[in-house]
Structures are given as C-alpha cells and as structure tokens.
Symmetry: C2
Subunit: 455 residues, 2 copies
C-alpha cells in the first residue's frame, strides 16, 4: 500500500524532511505532496537582505532547489500558492486553498509534516498593516520589498527593531540610497549581545550613516490613505516612506494549535527529539517548533535556517523509517553589519541571570592577527562563566575580518561544558596571519579563570 | 634570603617563565638573570618569513619585549650575546661565555629554567654548513638571511623541505624576486597533511611560480670556495645562490643532557605536567622539551610559539610558588601559502595508523560562504574518525580566505573526544557571509558518520 506524506511548508524544514523521506522510501512506497503558500521552495531567507542591498543581484540564486527540481528529481508533488487552512487529525486530512482565493479541497494523509515557519512580530498598533510596512521572513516578502523600493522610490526608511534582520536591512537600505533610521526599544541594538558588546555594533551602524535611536519604543504608525508616512514613539515622529519590521519572529503554530497539536509557552509546536508532535504520525520542524536549550534545559524557539535544515532532516529520517534525533541548541549566531562581524553563543548575561546562574564575565580586546601582521584589526571577545563550576556559559565576539566564525570554537566549548580553566590550555591554531601568539579565546578564558580564582 | 633564578634562553618560553615568576615574587625575594645567545628577546620567530617576504617591513615589530624593557619593567637582568655552555647541577651553577669568544664565568642559581629552544635539522652531508645555507629558527637567523639577500643579491634559491617554514620561505623569496625550487622528499609538501590535502597546497605553490619537486631527497651540496652553488639529489642538480633548510627542527636538549637531565626519545628534555625536569629546582619549557600528545599518549616535540608561551607561563607560575599544569597538545597548526590557507589538528592518516587506530575518513569540498554570496571560495575539509568509537581523531582544512581558523572548532571537538555522529548536531554559526547553511564541519562529520554506519 502506498502511503501519503503531506508536507505543509516548502522551505528548509519541510523540503529537507521531504527529501530525506524520499531518499529512504521510493515513490512506490510513499507519495509526497508538499504545499507552499508562496512561489518558492527551499530558499535562503537569510539571504534576502543581501539581495535587497545589491550584494546578490539574482533573486534566483537564493533558491537551492525550485519546485520543478523537486518534482523531477525527487518525485515530490510540490504545489505552490497553496495554503493549508485546516488540519483534520481525526479525519487524517488537510484542507487546502489555492491562493489568493481559489477553490478549497481536502487532501488525505497517512503522515503529516508541519513546517509552517515563523511570522514577523507585528506591533498591535494602528497602521501596522499599512502599505509600505514590510516583514522580511519569506522570499515573497523580499520580492515585495525589493519591487516596492524600485517602483515607489522611497527616500526615507525606518527600521523597527535592531536585531539581526533589522541591522542587516538597515545596511541594505543605506546601500540602496535611502536615509535610514533604526528604532530600538532596548539599551543597544543587537539585543542578543550584552549591551557592552552591542555598543560596539551600534558604533559601526552609526558610522554607516544609519540614525540609531535606542530606548525608542514604537507607539503607532501615521498613514495617508492606506500608506505609511511616519513611525511614532513617545519621544518623536520619524517620517517614513518605508518601514521594515525587525522585531523578530514568532513560531507560526496557529494551524497546528487549531488542529489540537500541543503548542508550548514559546508559541512553537511541541516536539520530541525525533521531531514528533503530540499526534501520531504528525511531525514538525523548523521555525514553527520549539526546541530546547542545552544549557538552561528550557524550551526555546529560534528561527534559523541551520536548525530548520537539521530538524527537517531528522524528521525526514524518522518519516522514512529511520532513527535520528535533534540534540537541542545553544543559541549560536553570527552576522555582519558593514565591516563589523558579530558572533554569539550560549547565554548572554541577561539569559544567565534569568536561568539562575551566578557568573563572572571577562572581555579582552585583541587583534585578529599578530599585531605586526598587515591587516590586523581589533576584535573583542567576551566570555561568561558559571561562578561555581567555572563552566563556560556563553561567549560573544565583535570584530572585523575573520572575527565571526571564531565563535564556533567557543560554541563547541560551550557544547562540551568546558570550564574556562581547561580552555586556557586548548591547542588552537597559531600563525601570524591568523592570530596573536596568545589566541583571544585563550586570554579571555584565562582572564575569566583568574576572576573565578580571585572569587 | 634572596634566591636566584637563572633562565637559559630569552625567547618565548624563557621570558614567559621569567615574567610569571617575577609577577609572583618581587626582586626582594627573587633575583632573575636571563641569558640569551642572540641579540633579541621575546620575538616571533614565526614572523621571520613575513619579514623576509616584505609583509612586515620592520624587524623590530617582531619583538614583543626587548631586553631593556625586561630590565626596566621586570627587574630581570637580561644578558644578550651570552651563551650557557655548561650546567653544573651539583654545584648549582652555570658556566657562561660572552659571545663570540669573550671571557667565561660561573653563575650560581637556586632555580634554573632551561629554554634552549630548537635547532634546524641539517642534513649530515658535505657542504651543509657552507655560506649561503640558512636555517630559519632564531631572529638572528632571519637577520642573517635578510642581509644576505640584500647584500649578495642571489638569483636562485633552493628550499630543502616542504613543511611550514619551507613553504612560507619559498613564498617569501618569490616575493623578493628570486627564482625558487622546493625539494620535498615525500609524496607532497606539507607532510603534516595527508597527501590528498597536501596536493591542494602543492598546486597553489606551483601557481606562485615555485618549482615544486617531490620525491627528491638531498644527497649533497656543491660549493665554490666556502659558498654553496647547488643542491644535489639522486635525480638532478639544482643551482642555488641561497639555500634555506626547511627540514624542521629538533629540540636543543644537548646542554640539558650533558648536565644529566633526562632527555626523551624525541631528543627533548623530559618534563612533567608542571614543566619540572628530573632535577629538583630545574624547570624547562618550549621547543627544547618533549610534551605528550593527548590522543596517542605518546611523547612529542612540537616547536611552536603558542606551546612555548603556555609552557613557559606554567613553569613561571611554578617557579613563583604557584600551581599550574600544561595539558599536552593535539597537533593543531595553521599556515598560509599565498592565498591558500591550511589548518590541521589531531592525527593525520599516517599518524592514526602508527598509533594503531582503525579509522574512516571523509572529505567534502564546499564553499567558505553561501554559494550565492560574493567572495565565496572553495575549501576542502577532511576528518578522520576512529572506526570503533566514531571519535574524531583529526581534521584538515585547505581553502582560501576564512578557511584556516575554522580548524579551531575541529580542534576543540578533538580535544573533547567528540564522535562524528555527535558533531552532526553541533550548533555552529550560520549566516550567508560566513558559511553555507550546512556548515562544512557538519557535512564532513555527517559523511564520516554515514561511512561508519555503512561499516
């Protein structure tokens, strides 16, 4: 008997799962139907800011595999512009609607994969849905924003929220010739860093010509007709022909929740380590689920392509009859704002505090290469270590060329629960073009170890 | 009572130890005399090729702290151009000679630090000591080579040995306008890599214009008067106005051995984890000692500034009355040959075999950034995993910009004895400017894990 797998959502998690399932079960065993609301499959949403900014001229290059490839090479029936509007768990079927307002129909499934992604947080304020206000979550969002800039030639953009997407979009729009203001409710942009590290990023963003306004919480949007004209805060009015929402995203768990699947405190679908939901034969992965943080043990929802791909693969292996698990996350992330590279992993100070850890911190400014080697630039490394055990809880890096991916070394140290004292003895790569003879990781760990010893 | 510490050798290990000892014991407690055969203290020997090649114009910038700084700021009596020619352990004294042929005198010590470094391997062949044949181990060697090139204007250089120093010097001399031939006895240059990875490096070196001759073992040096004119192998004669020996170095344990200190099979001074030799109150660190390899458990002597600094610090803490240990090494190293970056850690195939491990390997060619992101270049990652346990034994990376320091992540995975299977779930930094969405580390580990599963 041929079973049918229905996949809801055609990006990283959904299509990774579909491909893995196909790899293990051929078309004579498993029929696969994937429905996608937008026009694209398996694309890099993280690449949108670089397309808007002009670094990646061809939108198509953001697409890893298009629907036709999945149909031809994977025998997966991909249906774009098709939305799943209801899951009927008892009836083992999903109700589909052809977009924008085409006919609806029911499609039965034996196995279901829910990969509905995330939705940008939109402030519940008047005007937040006006024309000219954009989220940047799907490739369709990117297309819409891009053509809005080309068509309407906006002069002034306001970015609401100074997280990864906000900062990347601020840079992209500066490069498109817009005047850009960035409104951040917190003390510094890049709130996943501690404020002392975020301040280093804010400096770079200001240097780019972006007006960075911290402590500014949006209270409303002015509109003229259906179109945004300004963003209001308690303190000021920022004129805007274009607004980008960079307030982060929340898991899109609505469809799953309505069907009776358990959704957790983060709003994400609850899954086990094999990416199984609370309903038999129903799997979920990617931005719509909540996973767990390996240090705090708490549920977290972190929308990131790398997790979505890994989780989707784990789900697909399970759907295909194999066994794999997703081991949780530690919050590693990297980004780039103009020439400034940023990396973070594990807990920042606020997260450590919330999780109940007593901790020490240590920061060291060093160079990326031997001081005498051409092109050596400054970088700052910060570590956070648990006071009692000395265990590395988290780390942050802000610097120039060659700085960001150094966070991987610290991420693996966090993963393995290394103490900062043990880290001081690590055998890391040394050569003048790549590092001072005392690697920044080593000296920062040493400084933290000395603080722990001093008590 | 004021004790006296005598430090033999004024580079990384010796002066790190002296500084640490001073930090813990003031001049009223501990007198410190450091003797150094050359003119310089605390310099970066690893920087010499970049000085010769012109990247680092000022020789002085390779010096971290000069003798005057140690005298003034650390109250350390540094005596340059002074050689320790004998250690009298029973008499607790060292015999010193002022160079080149000045008077000799005895200097008593309570504590002794032996940091005599390494000496370049010189083939025991006629002509190997001729004028124009250079090692590149001390800053004085670098000065001599540099001024030889400026003064004698050699046209043709032969580099004997294709290790780190050999390749770096080959590039440096190409940049100085010399014609360069590189003779390597093995199958590929960069013998600390496996041949398949070394081949990638050889290609880059050839592209630079270096004549790379593999399988060529030197049988002699032709001379005219006291001066080298050619290098002979079984197969050919390579004319040479200048020869650089890049055959690696061996620990300079002669002085210690003559005094009765135990020297191991590697030729290095035997020390414990606190860097204590077999004689009470006598410490040793840096290129002259043997340490242990954390994976094989075997003694190794690896001449590298980063180890020398760490070991010197550990010795200095001990001399100062504190407690610290050196945890051994895993053979991490990075280098650069023109635009090609190289990193390695742990065991290569030959080392794994010698150590008795059954293993699998996996190599993956990927890009350094998302494929669509500007500046994405190719890199190759290879891992070696123990067949039975799946434990990562070693890894190698060859690629362009941004490739080399990624080895640190793999080094920390080796350090923590991670299995390749566990590594497939690692939470590493992902953003299009830094990595494909499947990080090369993850996919290479996955490929190895699949091979293990396939058996």
């Amino acid at each position: 008997m041929v079973e049918r797998l229905v996949v809801i959502g055609g990006d990283a998690a959904g299509m990774s799962a579909a491909s893995q399932a196909r790899r293990r079960r051929g078309p004579d065993e498993l029929e696969i139907v994937a429905v996608e609301r937008g026009d694209f499959t398996s694309y890099s949403a993280c690449g949108i800011p670089y397309h808007v900014g002009g670094d990646v001229p061809e939108l198509e290059s953001l697409i890893a595999r298009d629907p036709e490839t999945f149909r031809r090479d994977y025998a997966i029936d991909v249906r774009t512009r098709t939305e799943a509007v209801e899951i009927d768990l008892d009836g083992r079927r999903v109700r589909l609607r052809e977009l924008p307002d085409g006919p609806e129909s029911w499609l039965g499934f034996d196995l279901l994969m829910v990969a509905t992604g995330a939705v940008p947080r939109r402030p519940a304020l008047p005007g937040a849905d006006a024309r000219g206000v954009f989220g940047v979550q799907t490739l369709n969002d990117g297309v819409a924003l891009d053509s809005y800039i080309a068509r309407e030639r906006p002069a002034r953009a306001v970015v609401v929220g100074g997280g990864y997407i906000g900062l990347e979009m601020a840079e992209a729009m500066i490069r498109r010739g817009l005047k850009v203001d960035l409104l951040e409710a917190g003390e510094q942009p890049m709130g996943t860093l501690d404020p002392d590290m975020g301040a280093l990023v804010a400096g770079a963003v200001r240097g780019l010509g972006v007006g960075v306004h911290t402590g500014e919480r949006v209270t409303g949007f002015d509109t003229s007709g259906d179109r945004v004209t300004a963003v209001r805060t308690a303190a000021a009015v920022y004129p805007a022909d274009l607004v980008v929402l960079g307030l982060g995203v929340r898991p899109n768990g609505a469809l799953a929740e309505a069907a009776g699947l358990t959704v957790g405190e983060t709003g994400g679908v609850v899954v086990d380590r094999r990416m199984r939901t609370t309903a038999p034969g129903v799997w979920s992965a990617g931005d719509c689920v909540e996973t767990f943080h390996r240090i705090t043990g708490r549920p977290v929802a972190i929308a990131l392509g790398t997790h979505a791909n890994k989780q989707g693969r784990v789900a697909g292996i399970g759907i295909g009859g194999g066994y794999a698990t997703f081991p949780g996350v530690i919050g590693t992330a990297v980004t780039k704002v103009c020439d400034i590279q940023v990396g973070r992993t594990g807990l920042n100070e606020r997260e450590a505090e919330r999780a109940g850890f007593a901790y020490v911190t240590a920061s060291v400014a060093s160079t990326t290469r031997a001081g005498y080697y051409p092109g050596a630039t400054e970088m700052t490394t910060k570590v956070i270590a648990e006071r009692r055990s000395g265990r590395l809880l988290g780390a942050q890096i802000v610097g120039e060329e060659g700085a960001a991916k150094r966070i991987d070394a610290l991420a693996i140290a966090v993963w393995n629960e290394m103490t900062v004292e043990e880290m001081t003895g690590l055998d890391l790569g040394y050569a003048p073009p790549y590092s001072p003879v005392w690697d920044p990781v080593l000296i920062t760990a040493r400084k933290a170890a000395e603080r722990l010893e001093a008590g």
